[in-house]
């Protein structure tokens, strides 16, 4: 209760300050729009369907890219984690790529795929895939040998040992990779949309800038924050709660 009250009070104060500053006349509106202008913009944008469309487009892009990254990254991480020769070759290549900010793939992607959905998908995947793969890889590699011995001793071997012992033991690490992968994918998507790609929330931000429509810029930023928080609550908080519940409070 106390904490919610504190939080509420803080944000109320923030909005009031914002309101006062915006109406003080020190800055022109295109630099600091009033809260009610942003609100109006948000309502209009959503009412007209323009923002909803952009939200749908961006979410579709990131979900698609992220799911592909999960589908490729987790098996790839498991393989490189278990097979030494693969780790020394493909694994080290991936490690090298991780040094590259994913948006740096955009020019290459544009040349390969043109100004298309494929181009942005590629950039999103390059953002998420590496952290997911590498986290899975290290999770699988760092399973305490004691668990493996115990599993073998109880009769697990081969595939069973992998699915029943190694994989679950690596789960906390995989969750960390999934979360990091998500935030990288989200950033790459925004960067890509801002730079080149039509439709989507990043594009709306850019239009706001071109029209000197600061209310729109801030409204879209709000939407981005809300989407980010929503996914965190819906997906990652739950996964982390599972890990905390089972492993205790010292992990993740």
């Amino acid at each position: 209760m106390g904490s919610t009250a504190k939080k509420g009070g803080f944000f109320l104060l923030l909005i009031l300050t914002w309101y006062a500053l915006a109406h003080s006349g020190w800055w022109p509106e295109y630099m600091l729009p009033a809260p009610e202008a942003v609100c109006r913009n948000l309502v209009n944008g959503i009412g007209s369907g323009r923002y909803l469309m952009a939200i749908a487009v961006s979410i579709r892009r990131i979900l698609l890219g992220y799911l592909i990254s999960l589908g490729v990254g987790i098996p790839l991480g498991m393989l490189t984690g278990r097979l030494k020769w693969l780790d020394e070759t493909v694994g080290s290549l991936l490690l090298g790529f991780q040094a590259l900010p994913s948006i740096a793939w955009l020019p290459l992607s544009l040349l390969w795929f043109g100004l298309s959905e494929k181009a942005i998908l590629f950039v999103v995947i390059m953002g998420a895939l590496l952290s997911i793969t590498l986290a899975t890889n290290s999770g699988v590699k760092n399973v305490p040998p004691l668990y493996i011995r115990a599993g073998k001793n109880l009769g697990a071997k081969g595939k069973t040992l992998f699915t029943q012992v190694i994989l679950p033991a690596a789960f906390p690490s995989i969750v960390i990779g999934m979360k990091q992968g998500w935030s990288f994918a989200w950033r790459s998507l925004m960067a890509g949309e801002l730079l080149f790609i039509n439709l989507g929330l990043g594009h709306l931000l850019m239009i706001g800038r071109e029209l000197n429509d600061m209310a729109q810029v801030i409204a879209v930023m709000f939407i981005l924050i809300v989407i980010g928080l929503l996914f965190d609550r819906l997906l990652f908080s739950r996964l982390e709660a599972v890990v905390r519940r089972r492993w205790g409070f010292d992990q993740v």
Binding site: L146, Y147, R149, A150, K152, N153, L154, G155, A156, T160, Q164, V165, P168, A169, F171, R245, R246, W247, G248
Partner: protein, 288 residues
């Protein structure tokens, strides 16, 4: 023969006559369970080769409770890993004479030195893990796992996760997980080492009870001579690295054993002195 026997060719222990006569005689008709023949194990490490075990010979009978004591690093855990087939010996062989038993799911099970329970499973799921691997149906394995949790008096904690248990409770779960598989040989690697004296004594009493109910063949490694003497039919003293069998003591004290029993105390003193002499020797070796 009298109850206390030195089976190996090491120094004759002078025991007072009254101690000698108060031991019971050994039943000689039990079957052979495990034979360890001339087993050696060497590890290759960055600092060169470490000989952990050197020419170990042991025979263990069915239903026997064997305790192994010895200084740290003398290869006790290694011996259990070899018996459990988690590692292979360099030389020699380990033979297990198994019996046809439908309820048995594995031959050899270890309760590890550190807790090796799986944090992603509940207590019940941990105990049922091996049963699930062996393909036992859900109903049956839950029932069986619950039975063994009852046995170690932890059925109330069936749905807890491992981090919610105390150290002693964890070791009891590990014991239940091993017993649920009904192994022919139960290998216990200092299972109670990390616990306080009170918990330790309670658990070893529980173990003794379980052992007398189930009649398992148990090999129990410990640092603690008192624990070994309280639990074992035999105590085997290992020398420092490379581990060799230094001495063997046979204890036919009646059970359940009373810690106040003067014979037991005498025996503890005897083995502790041998142990100390051995430790002193290995320290001299290391420094000189």
């Amino acid at each position: 023969m009298n109850g206390l026997q030195i089976l190996k060719d090491t120094a004759v222990v002078d025991l007072e006559q009254n101690l000698r006569t108060k031991f019971l005689s050994i039943p000689e008709n039990t079957r052979l369970k495990l034979e360890i023949k001339d087993v050696s194990k060497t590890f290759n490490t960055r600092d060169g080769r470490i000989c952990a075990l050197n020419r170990i010979n042991l025979t263990i009978k069915e239903g026997e409770f064997t305790c192994v004591v010895g200084p740290s690093g003398c290869g006790k855990s290694t011996l259990l890993h070899l018996i459990a087939e988690l590692e292979a010996p360099d030389k020699g062989e380990i033979i297990l004479y198994s019996t046809e038993d439908e309820g048995r799911l594995v031959e050899r099970l270890i309760v590890f030195q550190e807790s090796a329970l799986f944090p992603w499973l509940t207590v019940l799921e941990n105990v049922a893990f091996g049963l699930r691997i062996k393909g036992m149906r859900y109903r049956e394995r839950v029932e069986r796992a619950m039975d063994y949790l009852h046995l170690v008096r932890l059925s109330k904690f069936a749905h807890c996760y491992i981090h919610e248990l105390s150290g002693g409770m964890k070791q009891r779960v590990a014991l239940a997980r091993a017993l649920a598989m009904n192994p022919e040989v139960l290998l216990m690697d200092e299972p109670f080492a990390a616990l306080d004296i009170q918990t330790r004594e309670n658990l070893s009493r529980e173990l003794e009870e379980i052992w007398s109910k189930t009649g398992k063949t148990i090999i129990f490694v410990t640092h603690n001579v008192e624990e070994a003497v309280t639990l074992g039919d035999r105590v085997i003293l290992f020398s420092g690295r490379p581990g060799t069998v230094q001495k063997e003591y046979r204890l036919n004290l009646s059970r359940p054993r009373q810690r106040e029993n003067p014979l037991l105390k005498e025996m503890i003193n005897l083995i502790s002195n041998d142990f100390k002499r051995l430790d002193g020797a290995s320290i001299n070796e290391a420094t000189g």
